[in-house]
C-alpha cells in the first residue's frame, strides 16, 4: 500500500520543536484523569502512549488539542503554550495535526474533499474572490485538489477520491483520515488509535507507513495494539490511572514488571519480570 521507505533516522533531542508536558494534572469531578504527567516528544521522535482503558490517554490528547483545560502543569510545543488561549482550530497553524478515534471523516464530503478540508487553515483566498468565483480562489482550490489527490494516491486509496466515506471499506476511510492530517504538513502528528478495526495485513501496512513518516515529523501515538506500538515507537510512555508508570525504550517497557501489573492485575508473577501480556497482544 505504501511505498515510503523507512529512512535511518535519529530523533533530534536538542534542536527543533519539541512537545513538552510537565506536571500536568486534570480532574473531572473527584476523579484525577491525569496526575502530574510529564512527557517529552522531541522532533522526529515517535512516542507511543499506552495504558489500560481509562488511563488518561485520550484526555492527554484532548488537552494538547485544546478541547479540555488543565488544572495545573505546563504543555508547550516549540515554546508556545498549548494551555492559554489555545483553541483546536489553532493546532494546524502550530504544525500539529491529529487523527480522531474511529474515523471522524465528514460524511457529506467526498474522500477528496475530506482531505482538502485538512488544509483549510493554510488557504489564503478571501471571501470576496470566493463569492465572485474568481480565478484567485478557484486556482487555489484546484491546486489543493491535486495535492489531496496525490496524497490519497500515495496512501493507495486515490481510486476512491470521489466517493463518500460511508460507502467505503473501513481501512480506506482510515487512510483518508490520515491523509487529512498529513495534508496540513504537520511537524507533530497525533495518532489516536490508528490501528483499531484494521486487519493484520492492514496493520502491517500502517506500521510501514508510520516508519516512513517519522523521518519527516514527530509522532505521538495512542494505541492499544502492542505489536504496532512496540515495532514503530522510539520510546513508550505507559499511563495507569492518570500517572506515568514507565517511560523508556520498547525493550525496557516490555520488561517492566509494573507495566505488566497494570495490564494484568496482581495475579501475575512479578518476579519473572516479563509477562505474557505483550507477547499475546
Amino acid at each position: 500500500m505504501i511505498a515510503i521507505e523507512p529512512e535511518p533516522h535519529a530523533p533530534a533531542k536538542s534542536e527543533g520543536k519539541a512537545l513538552l508536558i510537565e506536571g500536568l494534572s486534570v480532574g473531572f469531578g473527584g476523579l484525577l484523569a491525569l496526575d502530574q504527567v510529564s512527557l517529552t516528544a522531541f522532533q522526529r521522535e515517535t512516542v507511543g502512549v499506552i495504558g489500560p482503558n481509562g488511563a488518561g490517554k485520550t484526555t492527554l490528547f484532548n488537552i494538547i488539542c485544546g478541547f479540555v483545560g488543565a488544572d495545573s502543569g505546563q504543555v508547550s510545543y516549540g515554546g508556545i503554550s498549548l494551555l492559554e488561549r489555545h483553541h483546536p482550530h489553532d493546532l494546524t497553524k502550530l504544525g500539529i495535526a491529529r487523527t480522531l478515534q474511529g474515523v471522524g471523516l465528514f460524511a457529506g464530503l467526498t474522500l477528496l474533499e475530506n482531505v482538502m478540508a485538512g488544509a483549510q487553515a493554510g488557504l489564503r483566498s478571501d471571501i470576496a474572490s470566493a463569492f465572485l468565483g474568481l480565478w484567485r480562489s478557484s486556482r487555489e482550490e484546484r491546486r489543493l485538489a491535486l495535492r489531496a489527490r496525490e496524497l490519497l494516491d500515495e496512501l493507495g486509496v486515490g481510486a476512491y477520491a470521489r466517493y463518500l466515506p460511508a460507502a467505503l471499506p473501513f481501512a480506506v476511510q482510515k487512510s483518508a483520515a490520515l491523509a487529512r492530517a498529513l495534508i496540513a504538513e504537520p511537524s507533530l502528528l497525533l495518532l489516536d488509535e490508528p490501528a483499531s478495526g484494521l486487519s493484520n495485513d492492514e496493520m502491517d501496512e500502517l506500521a510501514t507507513m508510520i516508519r516512513g513518516l517519522r523521518s519527516r515529523m514527530g509522532i505521538l501515538l495512542v494505541e492499544h495494539h502492542m505489536d504496532l506500538v512496540m515495532s514503530v515507537c522510539d520510546r513508550i510512555v505507559v499511563l495507569d490511572f492518570g500517572r506515568v508508570i514507565a517511560d523508556g525504550t520498547p525493550e525496557s517497557v516490555r520488561s517492566n514488571p509494573e507495566v505488566a501489573t497494570a495490564y494484568l492485575g496482581d495475579e501475575i508473577d512479578k518476579s519473572s519480570g516479563h509477562s505474557q501480556a505483550f507477547d499475546d497482544a
Binding site: 471523516l105 465528514f106 464530503l109 474533499e113 483549510q120 480562489s137 478557484s138 482550490e141 470521489r162
Partner: protein
C-alpha cells in the same frame, strides 16, 4: 488527474450528451447557467400577461430568500425560523430610506441587505452555541419579537398602514410589472451565482465540514464559530434582499406582510425544493407563490366558507410536503435528479458507478466538488 479507464469511443453517437461539459471554473460555470436561466425567463415573461410577470417576480424574490436558507440549513446544518423576520428588516430598511432620502435604488437595496446581515450577525453569534430545536426556538423568538417593535414606534414604521415603496421608473415602453419582475429576476440570478461560487470555494467546504462534524472540523483548522456565523449572516443578507423585493411587489411594507407563518413556509418550501440545493429553490418558490392561489380557487370551486378557505392553503401545503417527502426524501430537485439519472441510464447505458453525492456518473463529477446545486 482522471483515472485511466477503458478507451472511450469518441465517435459513439449516443455519448454526445455525456461529452457536453460545463467548465469547472466557478464564475464561468455559473455565469453560463445564469445566462441560460435568464434566456428562459425572458421568453416566459415576454409571452405572459403582466399579472403572470408579477407572479414570476414574486417567485424570483422567494428564490433569493430560499437560497439563503438552503445554504444555512442544507450546507451548514443550522435551522432558522427567523428568516421571515430578516426579510422584514430588509423591507423596512429599504422603505425607510425610500421615505426619508433620495438615494439611488441600488444603494437602498444594498442597505436592505446590509441591515439584515447586521441583524444576522447579532442573532448568529449566540446561535453558534445552540443546535437543532434550540436554535429553531431562538430564531422563532426573534421572529416573534420583531413585529411588536414596528407597532410600538408606529410613527417611524408607519404602524398598520406601513410605509410605501416605489419602484424606479421603467425605461422605454416596458410595462411596470415586467420591469419589476426583471429587477427581481436579475437580483435572484446574481444571488444564485454568488452563492454557487461560494459553495464551490473553501468557505463552502468549511460550511459542510462544520455541518458534518464540528470536532473534526476544528481539528482540521476550521474556526467552527466563525463559519457558522458567516453562514447565518449570508442567509440573513439574502432574506434582507428578498424582503426589499417583497416590499416592492406589495407596494407597502407593514408587519402584516411578514407574519410568523412566512418563516415557517420558507422552511417548508426549502425542504420541498431540496435542502442544500440552489436550483431546487425555484420549485420551492413556485409552490410558495402558487399553492395559496390554487387553494383560493379550489375553495371557491367547492363553495367553502371564508373560515375554511383560510386554512385550506396551509392544509394543502402540509399535504404536498408529506407527499413529496414520501416520494422524494431529497426534495423535488433530488427527485428530478434521480429521475433524470434513470432516464440517462435507460437511454445510454450509463456506467453503474454513480457519484453518491451528486447523482452524476462518476467521471462527470468535477474534481473539486460533490454537492450538486
Amino acid at each position: 488527474m482522471r483515472q485511466q479507464g477503458p478507451p472511450r469511443h469518441s465517435l459513439d453517437n449516443t455519448s454526445w450528451l455525456r461529452r457536453f461539459r460545463l467548465p469547472t471554473q466557478p464564475l464561468l460555470r455559473h455565469l453560463i447557467l445564469a445566462l441560460c436561466g435568464a434566456g428562459i425567463l425572458y421568453l416566459v415573461t415576454s409571452s405572459l400577461s403582466p399579472y403572470n410577470d408579477y407572479e414570476i417576480g414574486e417567485i424570483a424574490l422567494y428564490v433569493i430568500a430560499l437560497a439563503g436558507l438552503s445554504l444555512l440549513t442544507g450546507m451548514n446544518g443550522q435551522i432558522s425560523l427567523g428568516n421571515g423576520a430578516f426579510m422584514a428588516v430588509g423591507a423596512y430598511t429599504m422603505a425607510l430610506l425610500m421615505t426619508h432620502t433620495q438615494m439611488n435604488f441600488i444603494v437602498e437595496l444594498l442597505a436592505a441587505i446590509g441591515a439584515a446581515a447586521a441583524m444576522g450577525l447579532v442573532i448568529g453569534i449566540p446561535a453558534t452555541r445552540l443546535k437543532g430545536p434550540y436554535l429553531a426556538g431562538m430564531t422563532l423568538l426573534f421572529a416573534l419579537a420583531l413585529p411588536p417593535i414596528a407597532d410600538k414606534w408606529s410613527t417611524t414604521f408607519g404602524g398598520d398602514q406601513g410605509l410605501t415603496t416605489t419602484v424606479p421608473n421603467a425605461p422605454g415602453n416596458i410595462n411596470p410589472e415586467e420591469w419589476l419582475a426583471w429587477i427581481q429576476i436579475i437580483g435572484a440570478l446574481i444571488t444564485l451565482v454568488l452563492l454557487a461560487n461560494l459553495i464551490q470555494s473553501r468557505f463552502g467546504r468549511s460550511f459542510r465540514a462544520v455541518r458534518d462534524d464540528e470536532i473534526a472540523a476544528s481539528v482540521a483548522g476550521i474556526h467552527v464559530g466563525r463559519t457558522k456565523v458567516l453562514a447565518f449572516v449570508i442567509s440573513a443578507g439574502c432574506a434582507g434582499l428578498a424582503g426589499g423585493f417583497l416590499g416592492l411587489s406589495t407596494g407597502v411594507v407593514n408587519t402584516g406582510e411578514f407574519p410568523l407563518t412566512l418563516s415557517i413556509q420558507l422552511l417548508a418550501a426549502m425542504v420541498l425544493g431540496g435542502t442544500g440545493s440552489l436550483m431546487g429553490m425555484w420549485w420551492g418558490a413556485v409552490l410558495l407563490v402558487y399553492l395559496s392561489q390554487w387553494s383560493t380557487s379550489l375553495s371557491g370551486y367547492f363553495n367553502l366558507g371564508s373560515g375554511a378557505s383560510a386554512y385550506l392553503a396551509t392544509i394543502i401545503f402540509g399535504v404536498v410536503l408529506i407527499v413529496v417527502m414520501i416520494a422524494a426524501p431529497t426534495g423535488i430537485q433530488g427527485g428530478l435528479r434521480w429521475t433524470w439519472r434513470r432516464i440517462l441510464g435507460l437511454l445510454f447505458r450509463q456506467p453503474a458507478v454513480i457519484h453518491p453525492a451528486s447523482g452524476l456518473p462518476d467521471d462527470r463529477v468535477p474534481i473539486y466538488q460533490s454537492d450538486e446545486r
